[in-house]
Amino acid sequence: MRVQPAGYLCLVLHCHLPYVRHPEHDRFLEENWLYEAISDTYIPLLRVMDGLVRDGVDFRLTTTLSPPLISMLRDPLLISRYERHINRLIELASKEVHRTAYQPELHRLATMYLERFLQTRNAFTNEYGHDLVGAFGRLQELGKLEIITCGATHGFLPLLNVVPSAVRAQLRTAVAHYEETFGRPPHGIWLPECGYFPGLDEVLRDVGIQFFFTESHGLLYAEPRPRYGVHAPVFCPTGIAAFARDLESSKQVWSAEEGYPGDPAYRDYYRDIGWDLDYDYIRPYIQPDGKRGSTGIKYCRITGRTDQKQVYDRAWAMERAADHAGNFVFNRGRQVEWLGPTMDRPPIVVAPYDAELFGHWWFEGPEWIDFLFRKLHFDQQVVEPITPAEYLERHEINQVCTPCGSSWGHKGYHEVWLNGGNDWIYRHLHAAARRMEELTHRFAKADGLTQRALAQAGRELLLAQSSDWAFIMKTGTMVEYAVKRTKDHVARFTRLYEQLLAGRVDAGWLKDIEEKDNIFPSLDHRNFS
């Protein structure tokens, strides 16, 4: 018989990247986002979880795998390019081992990187058979992992909702894609950027989703006031559950100043040999256009705003990660003990993070997660890791509230995706969504070339709707790329729309963009009605 814990910890990792795939170029800079995430985050996390299973550590993790990410992880072209990428890293690390032969501290690290990259390649190729999505799926079948879905292309739903069929299409497509991938419907969703608006739960109900997440004020400002704040989910009027982020646990990990990742023992992301070493030596391993950039090999630990950099000490960093994991467990225990007496069930602490924080920005992140689950399992019984599905199975009675429209973006609403830098996109996204709806009614039955053109129009619309483009336009790096993606997809959609109305689809051009923008091969254009 299980002892009821004093509280639950729901750790959520959001794995998402925008769909970036450029077969027309041999190497394309922005594809590196995927390769770095695979090496730095997804493979380390999978290896941590496999280790926990092997060692009999019971754990629960919730993770989003967004449809674009799943598509890229299963794309043969990107898989082969990833292998090329990791091989190049292994070559660079080998050279570094050689170059630092007489510098013991650096040599130790270069050796660490070489071993690490070799392990990564071995895991990718042999352990996981090039199929990371399958590896995540197996952990879900074991009951340790709950994989939730996301918007089809991570569209920011509150701003797409000017044309409600756009929201329906994002969700219908995501759910269908999840079912194809994992053989069952998704239980829950990570709303893109936690972008929620009252009434969205009706669309979620229609596609069979049972829970979602909001930013803290999504529940704190809900109507009526939730009795338990963010420490229990609420049911929307439709019976769909909303879980909200706990701020206290977030700060400990997220905060640049106070959070764990800023500790001086940890590796400094920004001191990369791509910036520091001789140009001719490093040239084959940085950006295809010759501009210096990150390689993934970094030798310094965090030392703040000074040019006097200190060498990274792996053993010390691991000690720190263990300390920080213990600290996190301890604080959650005190937190739930404090909350418990005022609640009729154990409080839940929902701790969601962008997955790439773990391993990519915070190098020691995956090891922190490893220590965290081991300490939760072996060292205490106050806090129990849980998934939202398990919580809802144990606690069927919840308060009914309408969450507040909100997001987890800067300032908590829509400003990040609607401001002077990106507001121009919306007249195009809304017009295209309306036109796509018009096409689904005009061509209720379609086959052959027409049906293919309709599906491709849907793909172009979905790709244009990625909130990533608006986000990049706001945050300022790679703006040209984001603008080009938006314009390319809107332009392709518009041309398809005009060709369909004119009854003259250009088959050669259609084949060309089907090969380039090949997400969701079995997309049903009726999703857009």
């Binding site: 701003l159 000017v162 419907p185 239980h187 608006f197 109900r205 229609d206 069979g208 049972q210 400002y221 809900a222 109507e223 009526p224 006031r225 009795r227 049911f235 439709t238 559950a241 300390d323 213990g326 600290n327 301890f330 604080n331 005190r334 003990e337 404090w338 007496p341 005022t342 609640m343 009729d344 060292d379 205490q380 199975e393 069927e396 009675i397 919840n398 308060q399 009914v400 429209g405 909100s406 300032k411 908590g412 609403y413 829509h414 400003e415 609607l418 401001n419 121009w424 919306y426 007249r427 195009h428 017009a431 080009k484 314009k487 809107v490 332009a491 392709r492 518009t494 041309r495 051009w509």
Partner: protein, 196 residues
């Protein structure tokens, strides 16, 4: 193929969007035909007329065109692609008309917008509770039409007395101070048995 996106969509429309509880965004397009219609309707009054977006606060009502709680005009340049509009209170519903206000005060509406709702920016004062029981469904979709079961609000297990509350707070504060000190010194208790 160049990325030619349309400059205009050939339909007159006004679209409102929410930026945050206290800021709206409006964009519009006015076709030459709509402009001609406006000129015909206003006639001589077109001279000196201002282009405005007229906002209606229609929170919680069925808007019949005349029963808004509150109305305000924002002067706009018709050629502008978009406009940001500050408002005063959160949690409201709005729609708007794009049109011309003549010097005489007469208003000619060109087009009406969609309805938007600004979100809350504060904790609700409404503490009337309702509670539901919903059975979670594994591995398949729940029946869309399943009825929703309302249940009485749960009792709290036990109310703590003020003394008990104080004792609990003090104990937790002591533990936290101890943990913080140990943490700052570089070591951490990872289990409660290690001596409080």
């Amino acid at each position: 193929m160049s990325s030619d996106i349309p400059d205009r969509y050939g339909r007159t429309e006004l679209v409102l969007m929410v930026m945050d509880p206290l800021h709206l965004f409006a964009y519009w397009e006015v076709t030459p035909e709509s402009l001609r219609e406006a000129q015909d309707a206003l006639g001589a009054e077109m001279d000196g007329a201002r282009a405005v977006v007229r906002f209606y606060d229609i929170s919680l009502i069925h808007f019949d065109g005349a029963n808004a709680h509150h109305t305000f005009d924002i002067d706009v340049g018709l050629e502008a692609r978009g406009w940001y509009v500050p408002v005063w209170t959160a949690d409201k519903s709005y729609c708007a008309d794009l049109g011309f206000v003549a010097r005489t005060g007469r208003f000619h509406a060109i087009t009406r917008s969609n309805v938007i709702h600004t979100p809350r920016a504060s904790v609700s004062g409404n503490t009337a509770e309702r509670w539901m029981r919903v059975k979670f469904v594994r591995r398949r979709k729940p029946d869309r039409a399943r009825p929703l079961e309302y249940v009485p609000a749960p009792e709290l297990p036990r109310r703590l007395s003020p003394d008990e509350w104080r004792a609990l707070r003090e104990r937790l504060a002591r533990e936290k101070a101890l943990a913080d000190a140990r943490f700052a010194a570089g070591g951490m208790p990872s289990s409660p048995e290690k001596g409080f």
